[in-house]
């Protein structure tokens, strides 16, 4: 994925096509992975570090899932009469939300290394929440049941990440 899709420059009337939506999803996962790798550098607790590195790996797996879904989309587009992913999609309310959360795919909120551990965990949970909301909105644009199920699984895994982060947060208290 190239630099983040410029959703942040767009206003609420934004229209994205399916490719662009997948690009944002991939970017979210890349940013998430980078965030966790950085967090692993900051924490001294070996167990927490290990957990962050694992989380970083899991996010890369999600990115790969989105990437292969995007690829499939472009292949199916070669067949006549199929869904045209390059078509701009209509703008239901969820689309405004997609734009809102697309903004969060900006890598600007990278960790500086000066944040407290609690701040890092809080932000990690926030990021996970944003991705869950984005993927839930993304489901509206997925016509294939098998793909919907894959995204559903990713949502559940992100929920699991929140659980892990929450546990770490409790331990730090």
């Amino acid at each position: 994925v190239q630099q983040v899709y410029p959703a942040q420059k767009r206003k609420m009337t934004v229209q994205l096509n399916a490719f662009e939506i997948f690009d944002i999803a991939m970017q979210i996962e890349q940013n998430g992975s980078r965030f966790y790798n950085k967090a692993a550098e900051i924490f001294d607790d070996p167990e927490a570090r290990k957990m962050f590195l694992r989380l970083a790996e899991w996010e890369i797996k999600h990115e790969q899932t989105f990437s292969s879904m995007r690829k499939q989309l472009s292949e199916s587009n070669q067949e006549p009469g199929t869904f045209k992913p390059e078509q701009k999609l209509p703008v239901p309310k969820a689309m405004a939300g997609l734009a809102v959360f697309g903004i969060k795919s900006e890598p600007t909120d990278e960790l500086k290394g000066t944040e407290s551990q609690d701040e890092i965990l809080r932000r990690a949970i926030e990021k996970e929440e944003d991705s869950i909301i984005f993927y839930d909105g993304l489901m509206d644009f997925i016509p294939i049941k098998a793909d919907k199920d894959k995204i559903d699984d990713i949502i559940k895994e992100e929920m699991q990440h929140i659980r892990i982060l929450n546990r770490l947060r409790k331990r730090k208290e």
Partner: protein, 160 residues
């Protein structure tokens, strides 16, 4: 993992979230006259969501006695449990109390977005847990509206 919630309890939590949200917006409207209209409108919308959840719950209890939520792998249950955990999302806490430390409209809007975000994620978990018959589509509609609220709040923030 236990099964901590049945559908009735989950809807009760959703109702509490909406009550908290409406109260937060009303109190904030009193504190920030420049945002009064927006905040009052948002409070009214949360009232509406509360009514939806209440009627869903009533309907559900009319058809069967507190059915367990549909959640074959227990993930959504687990998630609801996490969300209900006070460390992330204290449903019992009154978010209006947080208002005391908020001085700038920008901070208020940021806080409101955080509250909306928490509630949406809870509803995504809820949606995963309820069957179509129990009102999956209605939960979906509420999620979309809450996302709409974030869009409104964000627009206002940009305009400040």
């Amino acid at each position: 993992m236990g099964m901590p919630f049945n559908a009735d309890e989950v809807f009760e939590m959703a109702e509490q979230i909406e009550k908290n949200g409406a109260k937060f917006y009303r109190n904030a409207a009193g504190k920030f006259p420049e945002l009064k209209q927006l905040l009052t409108d948002l409070a009214a919308m949360e009232d509406q969501h509360l009514k939806t959840f209440q009627s869903m719950r009533t309907e559900l209890s009319g058809t069967e006695a507190a059915p367990p939520v549909f959640d074959p792998d227990g993930q959504a249950q687990m998630y609801l449990q996490v969300m209900a955990d006070e460390h992330i999302f204290d449903i019992k806490a009154d978010p209006s109390e947080k208002l005391a430390s908020v001085e700038k409209p920008e901070d208020l809007l940021k806080m409101a977005i955080g509250i909306e975000r928490d509630s949406i994620v809870f509803y995504v978990g809820l949606k995963e847990s309820v069957s179509k018959r129990a009102g999956k589509d209605q939960v979906e509609a509420i999620i979309k509206e809450e996302i709409g609220h974030i869009a409104i709040l964000r627009k206002k923030m940009d305009a400040l």
